[in-house]
Structures are given as C-alpha cells and as structure tokens.
Symmetry: C2
Subunit: 449 residues, 2 copies
C-alpha cells in the first residue's frame, strides 16, 4: 500500500450503523481508512432488548468489526476510546484502558459516536434504574429481571415480595414499549410454571410515560392500538407522569401539570426515557461554535459537515442536520437514519476525491417505522400505510432478520425465534455477573492439608 | 401436593452434572425434591473453553435449571448460596445476594457442589492468571485474550508488544491443552488477517506443565501424540516446570528438581493447574470426621453417603469414594464420573424408599477419555482403543453435541461449529465487561442547556 503517494486518510469514530456504513461505502475509494471504536464489535442495537429479556445471546446480535471489515483492504480497525479531537492539527487521540496510546492523523474525519442514556441531571438514579445501550446494560437488566423472580420465590415478607414482582419501565418509546411487553411475556408465559411459591402471572408491569400516549413518534391511532396490545399482554400503561425520584425500593412519580406525587414500590426499574449524545458532540460544538441542543446534539450543515470544518463529518444520534434555511431536518434516532447519513457522508467524500460536483444536500427518506410489542403484536407505518397486529409483527421480524449483520447471526436468531415461538421459552435466560459474583462456586477455598 | 402425608424431602445442592442427574433420576420417585444452586442455569462445562475463545456464546452452553426441571412435578428450584449445613437439625441455610433468606429441611441431602480452581495458597495470582470454571471466567478470559491483540496493534514499544503477544497457559490437563490449542488457532487462523501493524501468527503460546508430559490422565503414547499435535498448531510445550510467581507482567518458573528460575514476559496468563473442592466438603468432613485430601475432597462411603450420615450423599468433584477396603476408587474429575455418581445416589434413595435391597457399591465405568486440541486434532482412548487425529476429533464433536443439554443449544452449537469449520472464524469473539466498562459509549455526559 505504501509504494504510491500517501492516500487520503479517512478516520471514522464509531462502528455503529452510521460509521460502519461510511466504511463500507468507501471500500473501493482511494483512501486509507481507519475505524476507531471502544468495542471490538458492531452491535445490532434494535435487538438489544431481546438480550435483556433472555430471548437472544449477546454473540447473536454483535459482529466483530475486524471480521466485518476483513476483506476491506483499505481499512484498519483500532479499538480504543477517542479522548480528544484536534481540529487544527487534524489528529485524534486514542486511549486503551485509560492510557493514551496513539494519535491518528486524518485528512477527513467522520464522527459517529452515537448516544447514551440521560437521567436529566440525576445520574444517581442510574444505579437503581439502568438503561439499555450496551451489551453490558442488557446483561445487567436480564440479571435484575430474572433475579427478582428468584428473590420473590423465597421472600417471606408479602410486601417485599409484591415489590419484587413489580417492574417499572420509564419511557414509552419503542425501547420502553418493547421491554414492558417482553417482561410481561416472561412473567405470563416463559416462567409461568417455573416457580412453586409465587405465581409469576400476578406480576405487575407498569409502563410510565410523560407524554399523553405511548410511541409518540407514531400517529395517535397507532399509539392507541399499541396501548391496547400492551394491556392485552398485562402491561399497565400510565401516561402523563414524570419521575421525580428513584431509589432502591421504588420510584416516585408526579402527575403532569400537578403537584400530586405517587409512590410505586418496585425492586426492578428500567430507564428507557432519556437520550444524550456522545460528549464528543459538545466538544465539537465548543471548538466550532456550532449550536448544541438540550440532548447534547451538535447541528451540522446540510452536507453533514461541521460548520467551518468541511473535512469533518458528524452524523447519527449525536447530530441535528440543518436544512440550510435556519431549521432542522426532522430525524428520528433510528438505525436507518444513521445509515442514510453514513451513505451520504461517503458520497460527499467520494465526490470530493473524484473532483466532481458535490451531491445534493442530505435528505432523510422515511421508509417506515415499526415497533414490536409482543408475540404477534406490533404496530407500524410504512409509506403512509398503517399496520398493526400479526402483519406488522411479521414485517418487523423479517426486516430485523434481513438487516442483522452476518449470515450466521441471522440464522442463529432465526432458530432462537422459531423455538421461542413454538415453546414460549427463552433459551438465554441466564443470570450472570452481578456484585456478589455467583460464578465463584467454590474457587475461593484454599485446599486443606 | 399437600393432601397426602408429607412426602420424603430430598434436597440437592448443586445443579451440575451430578446434582441434575439425581433430580432427573428421581423424577417419578415419591419425593418432594428441592434443587439449590447459586446460578439459575446448568452449565455444560466441557465446552466452557469454547466460550473463552470466542467460538460459542454463553447462552449456547447453559440451560436454565427451571426450564430443565419444568416438567418435573416433584421438583422445586431455589436459586441461592448454601451457607451452612446443619446435619443434626437436617436443614440447610440458603442466602441470596449475601443475605440469609431461607432454611430448607431435608430427609435426604445430596451435596454436589463441585470444585473451583486453586492457586495452592497463592490467591493473589488470581488477578493476573484467571482460571476457567464459570461463564464469568470464560468471558473474562475471552476479554483478556482478544484485548491483548488489540493492545499489541497500537503498542509502540516492541518489548511490551512481544509480551502482549505471548500467552502462557499453566497446566496441561484437558482444559489447559484445549485452551492453548484454541488460543493458537485464534492467532494463526481467526485473526490472521485482522490487523495491520502486528502479525498475529507470530504470537507465542506457551503451555507450562509440572509433570513430564501433557494430559497425564492418558497413556504416555497419547500424551506424546497430543504434544506433537500441539506443536503443529504452534504451541510451545514446556514440561517439568513449576510456577513460583505470577504478576501483571509475566510468570516466573522453576525447573522441577532444580533451583534455576526462568522468567516469561506475558500479559495474558491462564490458570488451568489446580482444582479445589467446594468448601462444603471441608465443612462436612469437619462435622463427621471423614478424611479430607489435599484438594479439599471429602472421602465418602462406597454407597456415596457421608460416614455416619447415611441420609447425606456427597458426590462429584468434591469427593473421593472409598472402595470399602481402606483405599479409594480412582475417579477422574470429568462429567461422566459425576453423572454416574448422581445416578447411583438416586438408585440408593429409590431403593430405600421402596424398602428394597440396597444396590451394589458404586463402581465407575470408564467409557473412555477424549481431549481435543484443535481443528481435526484430538486424542482419545475408548475401551482400550487409542485414537488420535481426525477420527478422535469427530468422536469428540459428536459426543459433546450429544450430551449438550437442550435440543436448541445442540442445534445452535452445531451451526456455530459448522460455520467456524468452513470459515475458520469465531462468531462470538466479543470483548465485553472489564474494569473500564467500554459499554458506556457516552452515557455519562449530562445534556447541556
């Protein structure tokens, strides 16, 4: 690779849907590409909640990045944290295990570092109400949900037992709806006959939402359908309620527009409410004066470049895209939006390298929106067509299998889904990790004699 | 279940190969059975090393105990730690998350709590040289092995880079041999083309053993064959060497019968050397005066009961079995031995309940021994027939698939193995967990404004 004049160096931060798409679309471009990610794998986030609820195993929704880019001769993968971006010097600093390890120079930079969850300034809630963004989050959630049933089974105090069998999901966007539906299915189907002292089907699953309906990204008629489907599954939907406190024993709620507070005793609370962009967005906004919104997203130009820095593209869940007329293009925080932005950035980069016309400004093509709720239950809107029930559910299954990275994963997930559908079981409902490390069956005992 | 006179209460501690076998063989017996385990799943330990090396996902070798015993109407599962056994009062104390939660009374007790790893009194080595007994161990090992390549890729100091590409496995029993072979295959096959700055095929994999040959449980001719196969895979086999120290940067060795010390610089050390029985064995030995050996195993009667306590059976990796003539029955620490003991204990319990003749003393039927080394490489001995190479490897694959719990897992593992064989890939080579929690992509940043 070194005999020709040094090729144009493209550095991509983040191997999510947006970043990976850039790398794949530059496969045959005359560039030296470096993809930097904290993890060594691409995560198929739309199915993360299925790991959290024991339907799938982590390896089935994650693909090693080096494997994905193995045949890309122009691509290098670096695993590490991006700790700083020097826009003047055109380098990024990368660290591993907390130590600064490398500086990487770029000619073009693509930042696609995504978003995490936000507790709206109440970060101490995180310990009691974990969110769902990483595989570790999913395994922790799985541990909590399944452990609650185990603890309830041997709990003598009926009040604590009730709190153990009460599950609160905060936030009724797609993730919250999916989680509430799945937890209810665990209680009412999967573990229905598994216990001797408790009846899991009496568990309360409460979905709390600040707005006046679930799935606010959908039309109201579909929200109403989704709510009916949730109720059929045994989920209690509570709208127009805001969280004012979370602790180890429950959550305190306040009615929207009122002062009345309410306390829900629950030992398992899940946070699916707030999203905050990667802190890199704030760094880039500060360095360039670009606007930053309440969710920490930086506003980029219609071609996805950073204002005043045409060589830097920012995309995915960490940006808002200017429409060039003082407003923003409405963009949902979903995988197709990030992928379309990734493809657009790659197109702009290729056009520049070829010396051709710049492509038209980025435009989001909404191909539709699907949210699954449970077994044969889903709602969706595809090109204006509103769907619900089995047909929406089948569409959801098909689309997610189709987009899942890797043929092997597609096949494994298909097998798991088929078996789960037929048996109402969940093959991956393992309780692992946790503070008391139950893995150490007996390893600590020094041998005697 | 409560209208008839209270049935005979059998409590089983441990849902491994031995304990689960007891439960399954008592399915139709007139007993009320309680199975207590720290984990909510049965782990297929013989394939644990494949999780550690990214070939399989955790969920594929674990089966939820409640699922396994779902159709056993006489069985209750309790998840918890057994913190004490009161032989006089015939109760066991169970705790969850460090808190005492329940006391369970028994008429017959079966203790099958297995073994952990032992550092021979050097427990501070554990941090630098983890062993392989639990799923958490396997994921930690996987993280360390894969992270070493990632760190080497961006390490400027050639000496540290070499230490990062040096992997030391201590102990050449089946687990050590399997791990060394697999790590070598990762370096030489799986990630061969994955990096740009290092050549993974130059990695050193060193297998250290105190005895004069690998796989001492096999005849010397098979040990020699295994050693040749390991060398073909690129593993350096070093025998007659003992570990005198382990730290973050390497391991210090001493020649057997000499004083010469040697230092191996390595950032990834795996402990596959010592095994120690569950501490419950020592408690039971102390309470009854039964002998305890150096590995912490208690000696039980020829019918597997505890001396002087015919209502308590102890079995699996935590016991030695008396031959009734002052000696012990030779028993390898493998799944078939534990399963045969479990079946025997169940038979004794059933005979007592039926008031029939006690069965003959326990006898171990050695059906053979197989150890896999790598792709189409294995050694084995089945009823005196010595096998090696492809035929032993196929036998190993078939037997492990056959005994794996759950049809779904069998099928998923079959798919993974087929794909790995065809592509030399490892679909589950994810780096997860770890101290610096790389899962938090950006969740910590509070939104601005």
């Amino acid at each position: 690779m070194d005999e020709s004049p040094q090729p144009h160096r493209v550095v991509i931060v983040g191997g999510g849907f947006g970043g990976l798409q850039v790398a794949q679309r530059l496969r045959r471009a005359p560039v030296a590409l470096t993809l930097v990610d904290r993890r060594n794998f691409h995560l198929f986030q739309p199915l993360l909640y299925q790991v959290a609820t024991g339907a799938l195993s982590p390896g089935e929704i994650a693909s090693p990045l080096r494997g994905v880019l193995k045949r890309h001769r122009n691509a290098t993968v670096v695993m590490g944290d991006v700790t700083g971006i020097d826009l003047e010097g055109r380098t990024i600093a990368v660290s591993q295990a907390g130590e600064r390890r490398a500086e990487i120079s770029y000619d073009t930079l693509v930042v696609a570092a995504g978003a995490g969850h936000s507790y709206f300034g109440n970060d101490h809630w995180a310990a009691h109400a974990p969110g769902l963004k990483s595989l570790e989050d999913a395994l922790e959630l799985r541990r909590r949900v399944l452990s609650a049933f185990e603890a309830a089974e041997i709990e003598p105090d009926p009040e604590i037992q009730r709190a153990l069998l009460t599950f609160v999901v905060v936030g009724a966007g797609p993730t919250g709806v999916e989680l509430a539906g799945q937890i209810s299915e665990i209680a009412r189907d999967t573990v229905k006959r598994d216990f001797r002292h408790i009846d899991p089907t009496t568990a309360s699953i409460i979905l709390v939402e600040g707005a006046d309906r679930v799935l606010t990204a959908f039309p109201p008629s579909l929200s109403a359908k989704a709510e009916r489907q949730l109720r059929t599954l045994g989920v209690t939907v509570r709208t127009e309620l805001f969280v004012v406190d979370v602790d180890a024993e429950g959550v305190t709620l306040k009615a929207a527009g009122g002062d009345a507070q309410e306390r829900l005793a629950s030992r398992t609370i899940v946070w699916a409410a707030g999203v905050a962009a990667s802190p890199l967005a704030a760094q880039l906004a500060e360095a360039t004066g670009a606007p930053l919104d309440r969710a920490g997203r930086v506003t980029v130009e219609p071609d996805l470049s950073l204002p005043g820095r045409p060589e830097v593209f920012v995309l995915g869940d960490m940006v808002r895209v200017s429409d060039g007329e003082g407003g923003q293009i409405p963009l949902p925080g979903v995988a197709p939006a990030a992928m379309q932005q990734g493809r657009h950035a790659a197109k702009v980069i290729r056009a520049r390298l070829a010396g051709g016309e710049p492509p038209k400004p980025f435009r989001y093509v909404d191909k539709g929106n699907l949210a699954t709720i449970g077994r044969m239950k889903a709602v969706g809107e595809i090109k204006g067509l509103r769907l619900s029930g089995t047909i929406a559910w089948l569409g959801w299954l098909f689309i997610h299998l189709f987009y899942l990275t890797g043929l092997q994963n597609r096949f494994l997930v298909f097998v798991r889904w088929t078996v789960s559908f037929l048996t109402r079981g969940r093959g991956a409902r393992l309780i692992t990790g946790g503070d008391d490390d139950p893995g150490r069956l007996s390893g600590e005992a020094p041998p005697t004699g």
